[in-house]
Each structure stands twice: as structure tokens, then as C-alpha cells.
Amino acid sequence: MHPTSFAPRHTRRTVSGAAPVRWLLIGGALAFLGFFLVIPLVAVFTYALQKGVGAYFTAILEPESWSAIRLTLLAAAIAVPLNLVFGLAAAWLIARFRFPGRDVLLTLIDLPFSVSPVIAGLIFVLLFGRQGWLGPLLAEYDIHIIFAVPGIVLATVFVTFPFVAREVLPVMQAQGQDEEEAALSLGASGWRTFLRVTLPKVKWGVLYGVLLCNARAMGEFGAVSVVSGHVRGVTNTLPLHAEILYNEYNLSGAFAVASLLTVLALVTLAVKKYVEWRAESP
């Protein structure tokens, strides 16, 4: 999980070739980065602040934006803890035990990565929508999932499913289970062993997974868009709201909302860097 660089600190001329080639490659990479990352980043904030700081905060604080912020936070607040518990349990199960169906479980965990988010959203519509399998049953009890908040939460949980498990699993596998066996031999119960020994060992992996999970939960567009129905002030998350404002040619509003997501991304990156740094220094 830690992208460690194995390259030597001193560039070895014999391997890296002549200086012009090196500068050409570095220049190319920087130009690419600038064009695809830096310019868009600057553009987001430029457009957002186009009409001044006052207009910026008005756009963010207007009721519909505020409701989108709340819904995004709610979806993440449910999806992240759920996937944290699931991810830990799944990683522990796969790392520690050999059982029939282990490979199937491993494959299923990756499913949300390989399925297009739009398809993921459609699955829920087919399941819970009015024409879906469970539609009549839900209608009978007046339960609304699709085009309502529960659908958005479900879709978010689905697309963020693999993050924690995928980050924790390799850490658990790499560390073996000598310490767990020592704890058991000292009389600790399985649960105590998990809390006092296993969890502290994998905590940076867990944090890293939670971070990625949260970023995706707040930023998800495709799956949420399908199940949302775009009811303003009710079922719009931040990414959906940004799109709606954009489609209405409310550029500064759209980019103000987008800037919130951009800030989230930057904070995530910074925390991720910090977690990687802490995980490497014992």
C-alpha cells in the first residue's frame, strides 16, 4: 500500500542516459501534470471566486447547496463506518483462514471496482425501483428507496465497498500471526487479541482505507446519479448539485460547490501523505 521508491538517491548517469534526454522526459512529465492537474485546479478556484468572495459564500450557503452538503456528509457517515467494519472482518477472514469460498469472497470484494458505477446504480433501480423485483412489496409498505435518501446511501456503500478491505488485507497478510498466537497463549480471548494486538498492528492500513473510502463516498457521481432522481434540496449530493448548477449556466455556483469537493480532495491527499509517513516510521 505504500508506494515506496526503490530508486537510488543519486542519479546514475550510466543508466539514466544523457542530460538532454533526462530534461526532455522531466519536462514532458511536468507539462503533462500542469495541463491535466494544475490548470484545472486553478480554474476551479478562479471560476468559483469569479464574482467575489461574497458571491462564493452565498452560493455555498444557499439552502439547496447546504442540503447537498448535508446529504453528502450523511451518505459518507453511513457508508464509511459500515465498510470499515465489513472491510476489517473480510480482511481478517481472508488473511487468517482457509475456507471454501475464500476465492469467491476475494473476487466479490473487487466487484465494485470492476463494475461501472452507472451499472451499480442501475442494479439498485432494478431491485428497488417501482418496476423492480422488490418494487411492489416496497410500495405496499410505502417505503421509498429509489429517488430517495436510502437509495443514495445504498449506492454509496456499494461503490466504496472494497477500499478498507483492500488496504488492510495486504498489511495483515504481511505481518503474519505470531503476535496473535502469543496473545492467545497469554490467556487473551479472541476479541481482546483482535482489539489489543491485531487492530494496532494494521491501524495505518485501516486509516488509509477509511480515507480513500471517504473520498470516494463524497465524490461518487455515477451510481448516485442513477438512483437519485435529482430532487433539489432532497436527493442531491454535492457532485450532483454541481452538475445541475453547471447545466443551468450558473458557472460561479457550480464551481463554488466543485471547489468544496476539490478542497476535500486536497485535504485527503495531505492526510494520506501524513498517514504514509507515519506508517513508515515505526
Binding site: 503474519g176 498466537e181 502469543a182 492467545l184 497463549s185 497469554l186 494486538v197 515505526p282
Partner: protein
């Protein structure tokens, strides 16, 4: 008898070769018993079965008269020291040692007192606040001992406890373990592949080969009277010589010894000779070759003794160890011809093959 293992069998794959096969032995109370064998002999698996970290397919384990075969590891009253130390890296030395005591929900003051006592026992009083990452290998291993002993186990299980340390520290810790055992008197089971370690620190040795007990007994008995060719070759750094039965006696080189009773005339035998059971005698004229002389192929000085590689008249090669002082009196150089006097050998019927 403190630990009694009966007919223990464990297979890791159904129908496969058992890692531990029908093993029975006993380990006397308050003594150090060693499970000795080459890698793959099943000794670690056997230790894990006794600890309760693996479950046997059949057989039983009794610790201090209590049948533990179906008890979970937490209830067996054992302390385990792993080769990898298995210290909790995120806890200080004190927290590591206190872990088992806190599990037993003892009052804080008792836990603290016991931790202090353990730190004194392993001579690490100053290092209680350190983390395992800040200790040397030998210190970590001592913390592992303190942690295992803190809970007053009925039985201490050591899985190659010195395996990851360099040879100087190994020798130091061996002596330390002996004095620790004298202080605590805890019944101890030690797994090792190092026969020197086994012979030095244990009162009882169980030699394992291919998941079975090859021989069990006091170290002197294992060394002097190996029961099988495997034990003879594994313990004591021996050379193998081939010979035949002639008129009821086994003839191996210059040595003629009683043959086993079932021996038939002319049957092949093989003999295991320890490096110090061959005496080198100079020939009358010093260096010349003859029909009964052996060639000094190589000399190697190893600390207190000299290793002499001899090519016998039969063409077989043996390794002989001569104490340094004796060697200097002998005055032999490479290429000399000498008489090799085999004074003791353990003879087994049949040809030798590994």
C-alpha cells in the same frame, strides 16, 4: 511425569504425509526437555500441538496430569516463546510483560510488582519503558521469556528461541537459559535443530525424524548409544565407514567390534565414527605410503582443535578432530601418511544410504 504425549498424529492435508505421526514421549517435571531434529522433522508442529495452537487428528496431551487435548490454548497454563519473539511492537517492554497478567484481571499493584520481578529476573530493569524496536535481538528474546514466565505457566514452550540470533549471543543465552531455569524450575520444552544446544542445556532429549520419535533419553545416552543410524548420523558430526561381518564380528577398517547378534557372515555393515574417536599415529618412517596407511588430505585449524581430513586405505574419507596441543606433538603436514586407529564406532547392519 509432567508432560505426557500419547500417539499424537497431525496431518495438514487429508491423506497426505503426517507432519507428526504417532508420537509418544514424556517430559519430566521441572526439567528442560529438548525436541531435536532436522528441519521438517515435525518438531515445531509437535510443540504447537502441545501448546494448543494446532489441533491433533488423534492422540492426547496431558500437562501436569490434566488432559489438555481439547482445551483451548488460553486454558492450558502454558508460556510460549517464539523464534520471531512475537513481541507486541506497539507496547513498551512493561506493557508486553503485563499483557498476560491484565488478561487475568489482577489488581494493578500486583501486576506492577510482578512486572518488576520479571524485569529483574531477565536483567532488563532499565529498559521497561523502551519499545521492542529499540532493543537488541538478545534483549527482545529476554523480554519474550519474561512475558511468558510472568503468568506463572505450568509449562514453558520454546520454539527455536535462539534461532534468529548470531552464534555468540546464542551461546550466552544458552547459559542464561540454564541459570534462568535453575531459578524458576519451570518444566520446559525446547525445540531446536542444534544438537550441541540440545546436549548442553537439556536433561532429556527427544530426537525426531520424519514426524516420528527416533530416540528419547538423557543426552549422554543419545550421544553414546544412538538407537538408529539416523540418530547416530544426526548427533555428533560423524563419518560413515563401510565394512563386512567376518566370523561373527564386524570389521570396519582397522576396527573389529562385536557384530549385532542377527548378523550373517559376509553381510554389509556401516559404522558411525565420531571425529574424536580416531587416533592418528605416525608411521615408523614418518611419511611413506603403505598398504595400511591413510593419507592426510587436508588440515584445518578450528579454534582449540585441528580438523584432519583422512583418506583411509579403503578410499573412504573421515574427519578427525585433534586437540591443538596433541596436534603440535604429532607434527603432521598435508600429504603425510599416517595410521588411523579407529577406537570406537557405532555399527549398524546393512549398507548405508541417506
Amino acid at each position: 511425569m509432567s508432560v505426557i504425549v500419547e500417539q499424537l498424529t497431525k496431518r495438514f492435508t487429508a491423506g497426505g504425509t503426517p507432519a507428526v505421526s504417532d508420537v509418544s514421549f514424556h517430559a519430566p517435571s521441572a526439567a528442560i526437555t529438548t525436541l531435536l531434529g532436522p528441519s521438517g522433522a515435525g518438531k515445531s508442529t509437535l510443540l504447537r500441538l502441545i501448546a494448543g495452537l494446532e489441533l491433533p487428528d488423534s492422540g492426547s496431551v496431558r500437562i501436569e496430569g490434566v488432559d489438555c487435548t481439547h482445551l483451548p490454548v488460553q486454558k492450558r497454563g502454558i508460556g510460549v516463546v517464539f523464534q520471531s519473539y512475537a513481541l507486541f511492537k506497539h507496547m513498551t517492554v512493561r506493557q508486553n510483560i503485563a499483557f498476560g497478567l491484565e488478561t487475568r484481571q489482577q489488581p494493578r499493584s500486583e501486576v506492577e510488582a510482578r512486572v518488576d520481578e520479571m524485569l529483574r529476573l531477565v536483567q532488563l530493569e532499565e529498559l521497561g519503558k523502551r519499545y521492542p524496536g529499540q532493543l537488541s535481538g538478545g534483549q527482545r528474546q529476554r523480554v519474550a521469556f519474561a512475558r511468558a514466565l510472568a503468568i506463572r505457566p505450568k509449562l514453558l514452550l520454546l520454539d527455536e528461541p535462539f534461532g534468529a540470533l548470531d552464534s555468540r549471543v546464542r551461546v550466552e543465552l544458552r547459559e542464561w537459559l540454564q541459570s534462568l531455569h535453575e531459578q524458576t524450575g519451570v518444566t520446559t520444552l525446547l525445540v531446536t535443530h542444534d544438537q550441541e544446544e540440545a546436549l548442553e542445556i537439556s536433561q532429556h532429549v527427544v530426537v525426531l525424524s520424519d514426524g516420528r520419535v527416533a530416540q528419547a533419553g538423557p543426552p549422554e545416552e543419545i550421544y553414546d548409544r544412538p538407537a538408529t543410524p539416523f540418530v547416530a548420523s544426526f548427533v555428533g558430526g560423524t563419518s560413515v565407514l563401510r565394512g563386512h561381518v567376518r566370523s561373527g564380528r564386524a570389521q570396519v577398517g582397522t576396527l573389529v567390534v562385536e557384530a549385532p547378534q542377527s548378523a550373517r557372515e559376509g553381510e554389509a555393515v556401516h559404522a558411525f565414527v565420531r571425529p574424536h574417536d580416531i587416533k592418528i599415529v605416525k608411521t615408523a618412517n614418518g611419511v611413506a605410503a603403505g598398504p595400511t596407511t591413510s593419507l592426510v588430505e587436508r588440515l584445518k585449524s578450528v579454534g582449540g582443535y585441528v580438523k584432519v581430513l583422512l583418506k583411509l586405505p579403503s578410499g573412504e574419507t573421515v574427519s578427525v578432530e585433534v586437540p591443538r596441543a596433541e596436534f603440535e606433538n604429532l607434527g603432521v603436514v598435508e600429504g603425510d601418511h599416517v595410521h588411523a586407529d579407529v577406537r570406537m564406532a557405532k555399527v549398524f547392519l546393512g549398507d548405508f544410504s541417506i
